[in-house]
Each structure stands twice: as structure tokens, then as C-alpha cells.
Symmetry: C2
Subunit: 190 residues, 2 copies
DNA sequence: AATTGTATACCTACATGTAGATAGATGTCA
DNA sequence: TGACATCTATCTACATGTAGGTATACAATT
């Protein structure tokens, strides 16, 4: 019965560590100290670091997908959905210096085990696809105006979001992310 | 006489390694293998990794500043200067999976020695300030249109550039960076 | 001109700690 | 009893340095 808890605790701890420090700057020992089990126990649940990484990205993607689905089903107009998107990522980037998991792992990309890299690539693509649909909707309903294709605009928007997190943290002004991201939505409204 | 060469070789090698793998995923040994001197010799020139990091960021910032000054002095209109800015960063992100040094280090931010972190923060700010001036010029000369302040627009543009690099590399399509970034310029032209 | 001093740029060898991983023992509960 | 979860103990590899020595060059001293 402890199993579930331990696994969840490991994932929670590891996720926070990756979001703050990246894939290469956290260790089983860090997790073990936070969770209160020995390193060997983490290997029991996640034999290799790659296994842990894959589990992390999948769980995160699942969570995000659920939230994105909810936003679409709420049925607001395109700008409102983009604002909800921003809000979601703002909640993911809590006060304590975290970045979006995918963003951090994208930075570590060339050093990631291929299995983890593939999961990250797919997660990013999911976000882009969701955004593309919102941009298409905004164009159709006349609430967003832009010159590029919906796909290009979606990728650009996502780039701005990920880059915005990076910069806001480096400047030490996490609030700046919200301003930046909501400003980007406003800039596209009709 | 070897001295200058060795130091430059160390910096060149270390810069490429940081741009590809980040601050935490390269070692003195990696550099030593590439340069062909022993690890201890690198410590001779750069006593600690933080010293090496600071030297790296300063040299890079210097290079970028020289290029940006040149672009301003060439005196094109604002969109042209932005395109040159994109071109500069495209050249920095060569074919081999590199990212802008500041972008990589921004991702590693919480794990950086404070001395290195401060240099990165300053470098990013230099870019933002340069961009802000271009946006102000574009607004004044009527070649760029945007709704936010020049400062906000500059930070958003920079975020898009840094985030665009990250995504392009993760997708494995480095060419996408150019499309994305030049598209962002086009979207702002009158 | 030969000798000594001094700085540079390396080197070998080692110290200390951590990372990721494994083997095998122990406890615990249905 | 047996499966599951965790432990202790250990391994190999590597990271970041430090200690101390060597080779070379270029002065200044005699």
C-alpha cells in the first residue's frame, strides 16, 4: 500500500527537481533525501534514470492534456482559451523557480536518453496542435487576427510562452511572464 | 606563445559544449579531450568552473554587442535591423545542435554560480535594450506596428527568439527557427 | 658569457565526493 | 509461504579540484 504513495512521491519530487534544475542536475540521491527512501528503492520502481524521465514526461503530458481538453470544452472564444492556456502554464511555473517540464527538457535535449527525448518532442507537438486549433477557431470566428498560417502562429505563440518563462526566471521577475504572455494574446485580438 | 592559443581553444571548446549540452553536462575532461591538454592545465587558466563560465559569457556578450552595434550603424529601417538580428542568432545556432549561450544558461539558471548567473542576466538585458531601441525607431518611422510598449514588445520578441531556438532543436528542424523568427518580424511590419 | 632568478604553461598523481546502478539480505503482510 | 517493498553494502565511472614537479624562456646579476 506504501507503493503508490512512494511512487507518487518520487514522481512529485523528481518533477520539481527537473523543473528547477534540469535533467542533468538532479540525482537519485536528491530524490531519496526528499522522499525519505534509499536510492536503491528508487531504482526498484524506476530501474534507470531514463525510465524515471519517461514516466515524468508522460504524467505531465497527461495532466496538461486533461486541462487543455477542459479549456476547449468550456467553449470560450479563442482569446479566452489562449488566456486560459497562459493561466495553466503560470500555475505550472509556481513561485519557486520552476519552468515548464517540457521547456527544461527541451533545453537538455541533446543529453537526454532517446526515450525521454521522444516523449518531450511528442508533448510539445501536442501543445502546438491544440494551439493551432484555437488559432483556426479564432480566425474563423473573427476574434483573432494574424498574417501567418494557424500552424505557424501556434508554434510562434508556444515559443513565446516557453521563452518567456526562461527570461522571467532569469530576470528574477516571475510576474513578468504573465504580463508578457497575456500581452501576446492581446496583440492578436481583433 | 602557446598561451593565447590554448586559452582561446579552451574557450571555443567550452562554449560549444555549453551551447550543446548546458553548464551541468560538460566537464573539464570534455574540454581537455577536445583541446589536447590535461584537465589540470584548464584549472591553471580558469581556476574554477565558475571562472570559466564567466569568461565564456563575457566573451560571447562582447561578440554579440559588436555585431549589434554594426547592425545599428548600417542604418537600415527597423524591420531590416530585426531581420539582421535574426540572422545573427541563426549564425550562432549552427547546424550542430547549438543554442544561444544565454538561452542555455538561462535554462540552467538556478544551478549556476552566482557570478555566472549575473553575467547571463546582464547579457539578456543588453539584447532587450537593443531591441527596445529598434522597436522605438520602428514606431517613430512608421515601419513597425504594435500595441504594447516598445520595451514589452522587445522582451516578447526576445522570448520568441530564445523559445524558437529551443523548439526548433527539439523538433529536429533547425530551419524552422528562421521561418519562425522571420515570420515574427513580418507580423509586425506595417 | 655564464649564472641565477622568476614567471608561464604545462604535466602526473591523487584526494574527495557524487552518480547511476546492482546484489543480496530483511521485513512485512495477505 | 511468498510477493512486494525496502534496506545495507558495494561497484565503477566520473567530476572538480589540489599538490607538487618539470620544461622553457626571458631577465637581471656577476
Amino acid at each position: 500500500m506504501e507503493e503508490k504513495d512512494t511512487v507518487q512521491n518520487i514522481l512529485d519530487s523528481a518533477q520539481a527537481l527537473v523543473q528547477r534544475r534540469g535533467y542533468n542536475a538532479f540525482s537519485y540521491k536528491d530524490v531519496s533525501l526528499e522522499v525519505g527512501v534509499r536510492g536503491a528503492s528508487i531504482h526498484y520502481h524506476f530501474p534507470t534514470k531514463a525510465d524515471l524521465g519517461v514516466a515524468l514526461v508522460r504524467r505531465y503530458r497527461n495532466y496538461v492534456e486533461v486541462q487543455l481538453k477542459r479549456i476547449r470544452e468550456q467553449g470560450g472564444d479563442a482569446p479566452e482559451q489562449l488566456r486560459q492556456f497562459v493561466k495553466l502554464y503560470q500555475s505550472v511555473v509556481t513561485e519557486d523557480g520552476r519552468l515548464c517540464l517540457n521547456c527544461m527538457l527541451a533545453a537538455d535535449f541533446p543529453t537526454l536518453p532517446e526515450s525521454v527525448a521522444a516523449e518531450v518532442r511528442y508533448s510539445l507537438e501536442c501543445n502546438a496542435v491544440w494551439l493551432e486549433r484555437v488559432f483556426a477557431q479564432g480566425s474563423a470566428e473573427g476574434t483573432l487576427q494574424f498574417r501567418r498560417s494557424a500552424s505557424e502562429e501556434a508554434h510562434a505563440f508556444l515559443a513565446g510562452i516557453e521563452g518567456g518563462m526562461l527570461l522571467a526566471r532569469a530576470y528574477g521577475t516571475p510576474r513578468a511572464f504573465e504580463t508578457l504572455a497575456l500581452g501576446a494574446v492581446m496583440a492578436l485580438e481583433v
